[in-house]
Amino acid sequence: MTTAPEVALSDCRDAWVDALIELGREDERIVAVVNDSVGSSKLNKFQDAFPDRVVNVGIAEQDMVGVGAGLANGGKVPFVSAAACFLTARAMEQIKVDAAYSQHHMVLVGQSPGMAYGELGPTHHSIEDLAWLRAIPGLTVIVPADPTETAQAVRWAAQHDGPVFIRVSRMGVPDVSPDGYEFQPGKAVTLRDGSDVTLIATGTVVSRALDAADALAEIGIDARVLNMPTIAPIDSEAIESAARETGGIVTVEEALTAGLGGAVSEVVVQRHPVPMRLVGVTDFAPTGTVQWLLDHFGVSRDGIAAAAREIVASRRTAAEW
């Protein structure tokens, strides 16, 4: 079972809105576009500071993304913010055509992604988003792991002349970024070096991968841990190095394993095939809290460690042969 957290947990939405307010003060082109999601996006403070710079189209996601593209055409820098499940599924063609194919400078902010809505069920979970969005050419897909990374990703996206999707977590997460961390798009972050196996994690569950590395260390397995904040474009070099240097990879995500897992697998099979395990969501979830659901799908300290042990064991068995 997952050990009880002893560190402070943060809702990354706070970091998101604080960063947006700072940006709003620096650059009057910054606007927020929402689908009746001011509260759920924690944008109240932004709205208080800049009442004219929140465009609320109501419950109309296709319109919301199209309006965002039009605002970009009109010289604004729109942050289109809505629950990730509705933003991505409902407006997929607008994301593909109006944002990505059109290469508009706009930021899509998927709030409360993964299984954050827990007991509300699979209609409100956004587990498909990473797989869907990474399949769209020209769209940068970022999954911050903690408040520091969230704020930095928001700031980077504001000045990046192209479409960006950022997943902003509501589930409490501990800080995992190293001191002095600077987000770099498309770059993995080595949180812990190791030589026996690599755990590549993204977003809310990076801390669980770190916990699993501790558990593995207790049984003599030296695990490398990479935080992979950018799913597209993926850091192929870091993945190839991990495959060559540690001989096995476990991916860890709060999403269908066709997200990060699929992206990493594509690099591994083409550049340096090694055993892999993909830890993540594998089905529509049963009823439960997000923490319970993550454990249910094995996205836990024990589940991740078990996947890594399988890889190491298979390699040792092969060596004995």
Binding site: V57, G58, G66, G70, G74, Q94
Partner: protein
């Protein structure tokens, strides 16, 4: 005006007849109404002639819906829009979005007539690596404000552009042309609601009301009527006009906004395939490619129109 120069392909332009077509330019300053209409009629005739040659050469296209919208496009670009090649860098320029992106060849030909595209490049339509894709792409042509093709995208984008203009107190007006069948897409009605609620007087939605969609008459598919009432209920000021009458179109576009504090919806009554006798109001010509004889016949009719 090409954004990506390397996208201009290696193609045999000489395979495509394109003599007799050059930059036509805007209606001259100070032209009388009669002179202006004559200029636009001549331009529309040339745009139609070039368009059917392009579709014939490419073996692909949507000639019916192009002929229904050409008079609207020509009137906007050569007369009504505050938009020209020299204004592309001006944030306050008017915006035009062709939501019915399948009428791309009509847009390209009009853009060439207006000086945004080199007329010689029209011969590359749909050729490998051409900037003239089967549906207009913003990243390939600087005068294209939004990539369109899938229906129901242009109107929400136009609402966003108009909102940006309102936030900035810009003099910009945004024009968007949708098909009528296209209005079956729900995203349009989401956008119309937003336009009405924000009282976007700087927005003009032009509906190319040719009453035919790809497979059948609109009224036999999913009827839009009473369209004007629906648009009024969403907060539009509705104007109806003959979409092939350049003089009437000029007046309507000059009069946008048609009512203070309200977006304008122009229902432009048109005919698919206009004015060619064997194409007009004929659903078969949605994306039928004309034979060589049909091209000749059409050019002959245009000559005498």
């Amino acid at each position: 005006m090409t954004v990506e120069e390397d996208l201009v392909p290696q193609v045999h332009v000489e395979d495509v007849p394109n003599d007799a077509f050059g930059v036509i330019g805007r209606v001259p300053e100070g032209a009388t109404d009669e002179e202006a209409v004559a200029h636009l009629r001549r331009a529309a005739r040339q745009v139609r002639a070039r368009d059917i040659q392009m579709v014939s050469a490419a073996g692909l296209g949507h000639i019916g819906g192009e002929y229904s919208v050409i008079d609207i496009l020509v009137t906007l670009y050569l007369n009504s829009l505050n938009m020209g090649p020299e204004l592309l860098g001006d944030p306050d320029r008017d915006r035009f979005i062709l939501s019915k992106g399948h009428a791309a060849a009509a847009l390209y030909t009009t853009l060439a007539a207006a000086g945004f595209i080199n007329p010689d490049d029209l011969g590359t339509f749909m050729q490998p690596k051409s900037m003239l894709n089967g549906h207009p792409a913003r990243t390939k042509i600087s005068a294209v404000e939004a990539s369109t093709g899938p229906l129901g995208h242009g109107l929400p984008i136009a609402v966003g552009t108009a909102l940006a203009g309102k936030l900035d107190d810009s003099s910009r007006r945004t024009f968007v042309v949708t098909g009528d069948g296209e209005l079956q897409e729900g995203s349009n009605w989401e956008a119309l609601m937003t336009a009405g609620n924000h009282r976007l007087a700087n927005l003009c939605v032009v509906i190319d009301r040719n009453r035919l969609q790809q497979g059948a008459r609109v009224e036999d598919t999913n009827d839009l009527e009473p369209l004007a009432d629906k648009l009024r209920a969403f907060g539009m000021e509705v104007v109806e006009v003959d979409g092939h009458d350049h003089g009437a179109l000029r007046k309507v576009f000059a009069n946008v906004p048609a009512a203070s504090g309200k977006p304008t919806a122009v229902i432009a009554r048109t005919q698919k395939g206009h004015p060619i006798s064997f194409m007009s109001d004929n659903v078969a010509w949605h994306h039928k490619v004309p034979s060589e004889e049909q091209v000749k016949a059409a050019l002959n009719e245009l000559e005498n129109s």
